[in-house]
Symmetry: C2
Subunit: 362 residues, 2 copies
């Protein structure tokens, strides 16, 4: 009742050696029916569960996958984690969750620890500015495969599962341009993050193709969170001429933009159109519902875990770089220029001039 059952006890009960028990359990050798039955019966009646620790020690690897992410509290990541957990679970692997808060030091700590724990493999969404290669170089990568998820650190040549950020952003910008916008602004993520850069590149490509130029102050860097998105929006909306459309490189920042717009008494999409990236659930419920570039965190996590497990099972290919597709989800936050004359006049709830300036002065 109190202490867990070990193979030794099974062996005693079944009157066989421990080795035989192991062979029955793992099918590592033929065992005559009679003994096999006895062992199975003993296992059933005593309720044996092998010690994962002893197994790990002996085999020099566990059934644990390390999942290192910036912050589970960021609504994009739970989907990724869940996708990974689901495929891990189906293969009887488990997930150790680690939040780095984007601090390379914490990331390095976790990597070292998971290695010492003989995690079977690592799924990593690298911290901004992390030097993953250095962190990994002190061990045997052959026995502990690593797959980068969502973004790669600079110079990463290993496996990775990401999303086609460039194309997604391109589609977003193109949609705005097609809708007649000519003064586009963009709020990018941290310049250290590969996905932020790719999205910016896609955005710029669409402008280039449309022969539009972009003033450098219309490219504002923020931190992929609501607060910094809000601040960046405040900066942008103060400019003259004001951009008529903003592409926020993720939805959290788009939320910040919405907040800023509201505070400045500007209407979306009548005064400023907005497109986000990620297509979080919240997009359906914002006011107005947010047009956004869909990417499936779940699929990304699942694909990454799938690839990682293949590597664990010994797959020896060249490193793979899997880029999932995105899809622009149209909602209500973009106004077509063709409709400009239909914009209803503003409601009188407009703030007093003094008040507005106060807000702008922020």
């Amino acid at each position: 009742m109190s202490d867990p059952v070990t193979m030794r006890q099974i062996a005693e009960r079944a009157q066989v050696s421990i080795g035989t028990v192991s062979h029955v359990i793992n099918g590592t050798a033929r065992v005559r029916t009679k003994l096999r039955m006895r062992v199975q019966e003993a296992i059933r009646s005593l309720g044996f569960q092998p010690s994962a620790l002893a197994q790990g020690l002996r085999l020099n690897r566990t059934k644990m996958l390390g999942m290192i992410i910036p912050d589970i509290t960021n609504p994009f990541f739970p989907g990724v984690v869940r996708g990974a957990e689901d495929v891990a679970f189906r293969n009887s692997y488990r997930l150790v969750l680690c939040n780095t808060d984007n601090e390379p030091a914490k990331e390095a700590l976790y990597v070292a620890e998971l290695r010492s724990f003989r995690a079977a493999g690592l799924l990593i969404i690298p911290a901004a500015g992390s030097d993953l290669r250095a962190e990994l170089s002190s061990g045997t990568p052959a026995t502990q495969p690593v797959v980068c998820v969502d973004r790669c650190p600079e110079g990463w040549t290993g496996d990775a599962v990401v999303v086609d950020n460039e194309e997604g952003a391109y589609q977003a910008a193109k949609h705005l341009i097609r809708s007649g916008h000519r003064h586009l602004a963009v709020i990018t993520g941290p310049a250290l993050l590969a996905n932020a850069i790719e999205r910016l590149n896609g955005f710029k490509r669409a402008l280039r193709e449309a022969r539009l130029s972009i003033a450098s102050e219309f490219v504002q860097e923020a931190a992929f969170d609501t607060r910094s998105g809000y601040q960046a929006a405040k900066r942008l909306l103060r400019m003259l001429p004001r951009p008529t459309a903003i592409f926020a490189c993720n939805d959290l920042m788009a939320l910040g933009v919405l907040h800023a717009l509201h505070e400045l008494d500007l209407r979306c999409p009548e005064d400023v159109s907005l497109v986000g990236f990620d297509n979080l659930e919240v997009c359906e419920y914002t006011n107005p519902a947010l047009t956004s570039v869909y990417q499936s965190g779940y699929q990304m996590g699942a694909a990454a875990a799938g690839l990682l497990l293949e590597r664990i099972k010994g797959l020896q290919d060249a490193p793979r770089h899997i880029a999932l597709e995105t899809e622009l989800k149209l909602r209500k936050s973009v106004m077509s220029i063709a409709n400009f004359d239909k914009i209803p006049s503003k409601k009188p709830r407009r703030r007093s001039k003094a008040n507005r300036e106060a807000v702008l002065a922020d």
Copy 2:
């Protein structure tokens, strides 16, 4: 470079026995300065990291905490997990994350596995209808403490960290009543979940105190998710007389209500007021911004992990039942009856009669 450094190698390098190395590392015995220095130097130069597996096997416990939750994808849970991870991390414990999807079978599996893994303790948000006591009874609870989080299974007498659901719901209902509402409806969570029951009780207490009765069909059960909240709302909004206010026992269901309202061309809060529970981030961005009962998932997770760690360190108190406070966050989704005459008339965007009926028929 390739294989991890073991104590044996440290011992060789420092010209001492393995036991001495262990004593230096753990401070389990006095070691003369000279040897101690040699050992420390060896550790430094070879870069030793103890094998958590070997330690776990020897000590019969690891530095892992099992965290079992229904689904990390539900936006309330990431905060809980993060709170737990933060305090675990500060105490050099790590978290193994397990999603049960509210399936007791999956929960039981995880519990058994984490036990076999010698997790130091378990943090569990029980699945609906789980019999945790049974799952736990087959092992030695003394060595593996368990803390229930967010809700307790029926008859649970162990440690728990929850929120004062009853009071939170009471405040929500009271707010609606004070605002002049008399036809209140409630969308509850699964009747198997303690927190759902408590919230319903709080709601009913407020009604009782105000000498209001509630028709049984104004109490609709849903599953704490958006979809079922939407369906419950559809049922409610079809009734005559229609409730003038709805209390949704969590925000996800409130989102569903918002969706239903929109589809039926009813306005919130002019036609129907709405209060949610959880105060998710999304409440700020919905249309209208959602009044909701705040509870801190982060604090709950942190408190639970704190208590669990105390138990792991040997605290022997009577079981604790910690209930955190809630706070009603007022936003725009509740209309005061005093303002009823100020409601602007509906805009002409109202659907045609035929269309409306089609929607109602759903």
